[in-house]
Symmetry: C2
Subunit: 180 residues, 2 copies
Amino acid sequence: MTPMVFEVVRIGQRVVRDDRVTTHVALVARAFGANTIFMTEVNPDIKETLEKINKTWGGDFSIEFIDSWKSLIKLKKENGFKIIHLSMYGEKINDIQFDLRKEENLLIVVGAEKVPREIYEFADYNVGVGSQPHSEISALAILLDRLQLGSQFDKVFSGAKRKIIPTKKGKIVEMNETRD
Amino acid sequence: MTPMVFEVVRIGQRVVRDDRVTTHVALVARAFGANTIFMTEVNPDIKETLEKINKTWGGDFSIEFIDSWKSLIKLKKENGFKIIHLSMYGEKINDIQFDLRKEENLLIVVGAEKVPREIYEFADYNVGVGSQPHSEISALAILLDRLQLGSQFDKVFSGAKRKIIPTKKGKIVEMNETRD
């Protein structure tokens, strides 16, 4: 079976006010096995933060800046991606997860507080991670965990300078500095 | 089987800078079946936000302000709670989740960027939701989801003015206003 491909697009965020939340969304995308996050109008510091994380902790996760989320969605659909929109109004993840796992290429749309109404129509799946308000950060994490059944945590992040060895107490880090 | 009891304590956050992240941590605690979140030195607006959410979406989730997380942990231990500290350095959640599910009363410690070293000793379990940096918001969500195997999303939040009816497209909300 070919492994699923996950890409994420962040929409509707407000620069500055949502920067930390957007950074956490990007970190979750990376740590939970997505390849890329697409963003419009975003603070360039976020890209820098993620590049530093890649350098230290490995992998080649990328942030791509885009002009229009609509064009991106159309392009991805033409390329065989299915679109999942995370929304507290969507179908129950506990029920729909089995269908989602049959897909191959997924573009996950993560909105901020307000999203354009059209997105509900563009999406192949509107998925609710529960029907109570919480956070786009937790919604994305749960979706990616349910899709991969936890296997994302076994993924190797190649080229890491530091690697954590899980332990009961304290911190154990394998250091693989390539210079100095 | 008695249902597990979950309480959360947020430590190490910086007022203002971490306010939105702390709010999202509280929202996740509520939406994922915890009863209470304890906090030190926090912006009172966060309590107000959560009280508004309770009014609209139901349930009796509470925020309690405390002076010392250490005293809280000691008290909870005396009352039979086990302490789980979420840390990217901890034991793999994929392995430890089976042991955690056997516990009855859990206090979950959610740190911000820096946490006091002692917490690793106080904790009965140091649990890593993966070994890559992401977010305390996603870490808490994954832990609570794994502990309850998704059943938290079927929990009834009593007294709600609004209740979402999950749907494929758009938004369906059952309105139960008690006055006007």
